[in-house]
C-alpha cells in the first residue's frame, strides 16, 4: 500500500470533538496537539508504513533484527525527546501527547511504534523523581539533536512474576528472584527480567527490584541501569507472534553495580512509583490499540473502494454493518484513552505540573546540573525526600488511584477493540490475493499483544473494579515515613 496519507484519517478535532470547546479556552494547547498529531502522521506515513511488512518479516526470521534506520528517522520528528521535560532539552509532552502520537504511529506499524512507546515507558519513572535524572534525560535529547538514537526500556517482569509485579498487593506475595543488595556507594543488582521491550537495544534501562527479597512490596525500588555496565547481559530475544519490530528480551543482571545517584526515587518507594507509571502508560497503550484498529479499518476501506477485486462489496449490507461497527468501536476506544490521559495529566498530576516548586527545581540550568557536586545535591536523599513531600502536597493517592482506574479501563477496552476490529477486517477481506491480506494479518497478530502487556486485560479489569467500582485508594505516593525508612535501608 502506498505511503500517502489516508483521506479517512481524522483531524484532531474530528477525532475528539470535545476539543472544540477547549480550543476556545486554550488555543495554544489544542494547536500544539494538532501539530503533534500531524508531525506523528507525517513520520508514520513517510517512514513506518512502507517498511512495516518488510521489517516484520525480517524480525520474524531473526528476532534480533533491529532497524536503527527507522529510529534514526524519528529523531528529527522529536520522537525520543517527546516526554522529556523542556529543562532537560525535550518537548515536555504529557500523556495526552504521547497517546495522540501512539495512535498515529500504530496505524502504520504497531511494532515500530512500540519502540518509541517502550522508550517513553523507560523514561516515565525518572519523571516522578524531580530533576535527579535530568543528566541522563539531557543525554538522550542531546544525542537526538546530534542524530544519534539513545533508547530506554523499563524492566519489571520476571520469569516467575508477571501479573504479580504489576499490582501492589500481589507483589507482597510474589515469587521474586531478583535482588538489589546494598554495597558501598550503591547497590549490586542480581536476577532475570523477562519480555523487556527494547531490552536488547536500550542504552539505559529502568529496573525494579527489591532491596530485601523477603519483603518485595515494602522494599521494591527502581534503579537506572546503564546497559554498558559490567554484569549486564541479554540472554535471549524472543520470537514473537507480532509487534516484531520491537524486540522483547530476557535480561540478566549479575552483580550489576548501580550508584546511589542512580537510584530512582527513594529506596522502598518502587511499588507506588510503578503504579503511577502504569497510570501514565496505560492510556498510550489504549491509543496503541486504537491505532491498530484504525489501521485495519482504513486499509480495509481503502481496499474496498479501490481494488477491482473488491468491486461491489461496499454495496453489501454485511460489509457496511461491519465497517459501521468498526467505526463505532474505534471512536469509543479513542474517547476512553483520551479521558484517561486527560485525567492523568490534569487531575492526577495537575497540581504537580502547576506547582511552583517543580518549576523551581526544573529550572536548574544544565551547566549547573553537570557539575558533580550539584548533581549530588539533586540526587541526595534529602532532595528525594523533598520531591516525595512535594508530590504528596500536590496530588493524592485517591487522585492517582482514580486515574489508574480510568487508564486500566482504556487499556483493557482498547485491547479488545483492536482484536475485534482486526478480526472483522480480516474476515471481510477473506483470502484475497491483494497485499492488504498480509497487512491485515500482521495487524491482527500485533493486536493480540495489547491484551497482554502492561498487565493482562484480566488484571486491568480487576484494577478497574478496585479503583472505580469499589472506590479503593491505593498507596501510590511515597510514604510519609519514607525519610526514615530510606535512611535505614541505605545505612543497613
Amino acid at each position: 500500500m502506498e505511503a500517502a496519507a489516508n483521506s479517512t484519517a481524522p483531524s484532531l478535532l474530528e477525532a475528539f470533538p470535545r476539543l472544540h470547546q477547549l480550543k476556545r479556552l486554550d488555543r495554544g494547547y489544542v494547536r500544539r496537539l494538532e501539530e503533534l498529531q500531524l508531525r506523528a502522521r507525517e513520520f508514520a506515513d513517510r517512514h513506518l508504513r512502507e517498511r512495516a511488512l518488510d521489517i516484520d518479516r525480517r524480525a520474524g526470521e531473526d528476532p534480533s533484527y533491529f532497524d536503527w534506520d527507522v529510529v534514526r528517522a524519528g529523531l528529527p520528528h522529536g520522537m525520543l525527546g517527546l516526554s522529556v521535560p523542556a529543562q532537560a532539552g525535550g518537548t515536555g509532552g504529557l500523556i495526552v501527547h504521547a497517546a495522540v502520537v501512539m495512535e498515529e504511529l500504530c496505524t502504520a506499524c504497531p511494532g515500530l511504534a512500540n519502540i518509541f512507546g517502550a522508550h517513553a515507558l523507560g523514561i516515565a519513572p525518572l519523571l516522578i523523581d524531580g530533576p535527579a535524572h535530568y543528566g541522563v534525560l539531557g543525554e538522550i535529547t542531546a544525542a537526538e539533536r546530534r542524530g544519534e538514537p539513545l533508547l530506554m526500556a523499563m524492566a519489571i517482569t520476571e520469569p516467575d512474576a508477571g501479573t504479580d509485579v504489576e499490582d501492589i498487593d500481589l507483589l507482597a506475595r510474589a515469587r521474586i528472584s531478583s535482588h538489589a543488595r546494598r554495597v558501598p556507594g550503591g547497590y549490586a543488582l542480581n536476577g532475570v527480567k523477562r519480555f523487556i521491550s527494547n531490552g536488547s537495544v536500550a542504552r539505559w534501562i529502568t529496573v525494579t527490584m527489591p532491596v530485601d527479597p523477603r519483603r518485595p512490596a515494602a522494599t521494591w525500588t527502581c534503579f537506572l541501569v546503564d546497559a554498558a555496565s559490567d554484569g549486564f547481559s541479554v540472554a535471549r530475544v524472543e520470537h514473537k507472534m507480532g509487534q516484531r519490530a520491537c524486540p522483547a528480551a530476557e535480561l540478566v543482571f549479575d552483580e550489576v553495580f548501580v550508584s546511589d545517584e542512580r537510584v530512582v526515587g527513594r529506596v522502598g518507594d518502587g511499588a507506588g512509583a510503578t503504579l503511577i507509571v502504569l497510570a501514565a502508560s496505560r492510556p498510550p497503550v489504549g491509543a496503541i490499540a486504537t491505532g491498530i484498529a484504525r489501521g485495519a479499518y482504513e486499509r480495509l476501506l481503502r481496499w474496498l473502494r479501490e481494488d477491482p477485486a473488491a468491486q461491489g462489496m461496499l454495496d453489501r449490507q454485511h460489509v457496511q454493518l461491519q465497517l459501521a461497527g468498526m467505526a463505532e468501536e474505534i471512536h469509543l476506544a479513542r474517547q476512553a484513552y483520551m479521558d484517561a490521559a486527560t485525567e492523568f495529566d490534569l487531575a492526577a498530576l495537575g497540581g504537580v505540573l502547576s506547582h511552583p516548586l517543580l518549576r523551581g527545581m526544573g529550572l536548574v540550568p544544565a551547566s549547573v546540573r553537570r557539575r558533580s557536586r550539584l548533581r549530588r545535591l539533586v540526587t541526595s536523599p534529602r532532595a528525594r525526600d523533598a520531591t516525595a513531600r512535594f508530590l504528596r502536597s500536590a496530588t493524592s493517592d485517591r487522585a492517582i488511584t482514580r486515574s489508574f482506574g480510568l487508564s486500566s479501563l482504556a487499556k483493557a477496552r482498547g485491547g479488545d477493540v483492536a482484536m475485534r476490529v482486526t478480526h472483522a477486517a480480516l474476515e471481510v477481506a477473506g483470502l484475497t490475493d491483494a497485499p492488504i491480506r498480509a497487512e491485515l494479518e500482521k495487524l491482527w497478530r500485533d493486536a493480540k499483544l495489547t491484551q497482554i502487556y502492561e498487565g493482562t486485560n484480566q488484571l486491568n479489569r480487576i484494577e478497574v473494579y478496585r479503583a472505580l467500582v469499589a472506590g479503593e485508594t491505593m498507596p501510590a505516593l511515597p510514604g510519609r515515613d519514607g525519610d526514615a525508612r530510606a535512611e535505614e535501608e541505605v545505612t543497613a
Binding site: K240, G242, H423
Partner: protein
C-alpha cells in the same frame, strides 16, 4: 502403529481403532513437529507426510481394491480431528488429498501412487473477493483452462491438483504437476496452517484431463465442497481441543498470586468458555456429512470455536503464549486462517441461508 488397512470398515469398534491410530499420529508424530512445520524447516513436511502415508491416511477414502484404505467419510472426519490436534496444516493436507481422490473417477484415482500428495483446489465462490477466476474451454485438442486460482491451500509442492469449479459451469479437472501451462508458485505470507503451503496457481492454456462430464460435475463439486467444509469443521475442533488441553495444563502449573492460576476466576471463565464451545460444536461423530447445509453450519461453528478458544489459550499463557516456542500462538493463527477457508465466514453464512431457503 497398526495399519489402517487392517481395520477399515464401518463397525464401531473398528472405527475406534482407526481413530486411535490417528490420535497417535497426531500426538507422537505431528505435534512435536508443529514448530518445524510452521517454519517450513527443510524435511519437516516430508517426514510428516511419510508418517501419514505409512498408516494410509493419504488415501483413506480410496477403495481397498484401488489401493486405498476404504475408510468411510464419517470415520475420516473423526480422524481429521485427531490429526489436527497434532497439526492443523497436515490435517488440511490429508483432507485435500482425500477430497482430490474422492472427486476423481475410481480409475483415475487408482493411478495416483502411494505416498503421492494431490490437492483439491476449489474455485472461489462468486462472492469471495479473491480476484481469482478460471475459464474452461473445450477445444479439439482437449480441454484447456485459463485463469488464476489463489491462494490454493496445500497446492504448493503437490504432485497434482484437482480443480473443482463452482458457479454456472461446474467442472472437475485433473492436472498433474508439470502440466504445460500450469504454474504453481508460493503465495506468501501465510498466516496459519502453514504445513499446507498455499500457492498462486496460474493456468495459461493448460490442458487438463476432464475427470467428469459436465453433467456429473455439478454433484461432484457440491460433494467436494461439503467434504471440505465438514473436514474443516473437524479440523477446527481438533485445533480447539488442543488449545484447551494446553491451556488447562498450563493453568494448573503456572503460579501467580500465590496459587496456580486455574484458581483465579478470570482464568476459570476462559477455561469454562473453551469447554462450553467444544461441547456446543457438532462432533464429526455425527457420521458422514449430513448434507451441504449441515456441513457449512458445522464449519462455521467449529471455526468460530477454534478462533475464540485459541485466542483465550494465548491469554491464559500470558506473555509466554505470545512467543513461538509454546506453540499456542500458532494454534491461534491456524484457527484464524481456517475461518477464512474455503470461504470467509460471512460468505459462508450467506450461502447457508441460501441453502436453507
Amino acid at each position: 502403529m497398526t495399519a489402517v488397512a487392517a481395520t477399515a470398515s464401518g463397525a464401531a469398534a473398528e472405527r475406534d481403532e482407526v481413530v486411535a491410530v490417528a490420535r497417535e499420529l497426531g500426538r507422537r508424530e505431528l505435534a512435536p513437529r508443529g514448530l518445524d512445520l510452521d517454519k517450513r524447516r527443510p524435511g519437516a513436511l516430508d517426514a510428516a507426510w511419510g508418517q501419514v502415508a505409512e498408516v494410509g491416511f493419504d488415501r483413506a477414502l480410496l477403495a481397498v481394491d484401488d489401493g486405498g484404505v476404504g475408510l468411510d467419510p464419517g470415520s475420516l472426519l473423526l480422524c481429521l480431528e485427531e490429526i489436527a490436534a497434532g497439526d492443523g496444516g497436515v490435517a488440511i493436507l490429508v483432507l485435500l488429498a482425500n477430497a482430490a481422490l474422492a472427486a476423481l473417477p475410481a480409475e483415475l484415482a487408482a493411478q495416483v501412487g502411494e505416498g503421492k500428495r494431490w490437492a483439491l483446489v476449489p474455485a472461489p465462490p462468486e462472492e469471495a473477493p479473491t480476484g481469482a477466476r478460471i475459464e474452461v474451454a473445450a477445444r479439439e485438442d482437449g480441454t484447456v483452462v485459463v485463469g488464476a486460482l489463489s491462494p490454493a491451500l496445500g497446492a504448493l509442492g503437490a504432485d497434482g491438483i484437482v480443480v473443482v469449479g463452482r458457479g454456472a459451469e461446474p467442472a472437475v479437472l485433473a492436472l498433474p504437476a508439470g502440466t504445460a501451462g500450469l504454474r504453481i508458485e508460493a503465495c506468501e505470507p501465510q498466516l496459519g496452517l502453514r504445513a499446507a503451503a498455499a500457492a498462486r496457481i496460474s493456468l495459461s492454456d493448460a490442458t487438463a484431463e476432464v475427470a467428469l462430464p459436465p453433467a456429473e460435475a455439478g454433484a461432484a463439486t457440491a460433494d467436494s465442497l461439503t467434504l471440505l467444509r465438514a473436514g474443516a469443521a473437524a479440523i477446527g475442533r481438533g485445533i480447539a481441543r488442543r488449545a484447551h488441553d494446553l491451556a488447562l495444563a498450563y493453568a494448573e502449573e503456572r503460579v501467580q498470586g500465590g496459587v496456580p492460576i486455574v484458581e483465579h476466576d478470570a482464568v476459570r471463565e476462559m477455561l469454562a468458555a473453551m469447554a462450553v464451545r467444544l461441547a456446543a460444536t457438532p462432533s464429526p461423530a455425527l457420521g458422514a456429512p449430513a448434507g451441504e447445509a449441515a456441513a457449512l453450519a458445522a464449519k462455521l461453528a467449529a471455526a468460530d470455536a477454534a478462533v475464540a478458544t485459541t485466542t483465550d489459550a494465548v491469554q491464559v499463557f500470558g506473555g509466554t503464549g505470545y512467543m513461538h516456542e509454546t506453540g499456542v500462538e500458532k494454534l491461534m493463527r491456524d484457527a484464524k486462517f481456517l475461518q477464512l477457508w474455503p470461504e470467509p465466514s460471512w460468505v459462508a453464512r450467506s450461502l447457508l441461508v441460501d441453502l436453507r431457503r
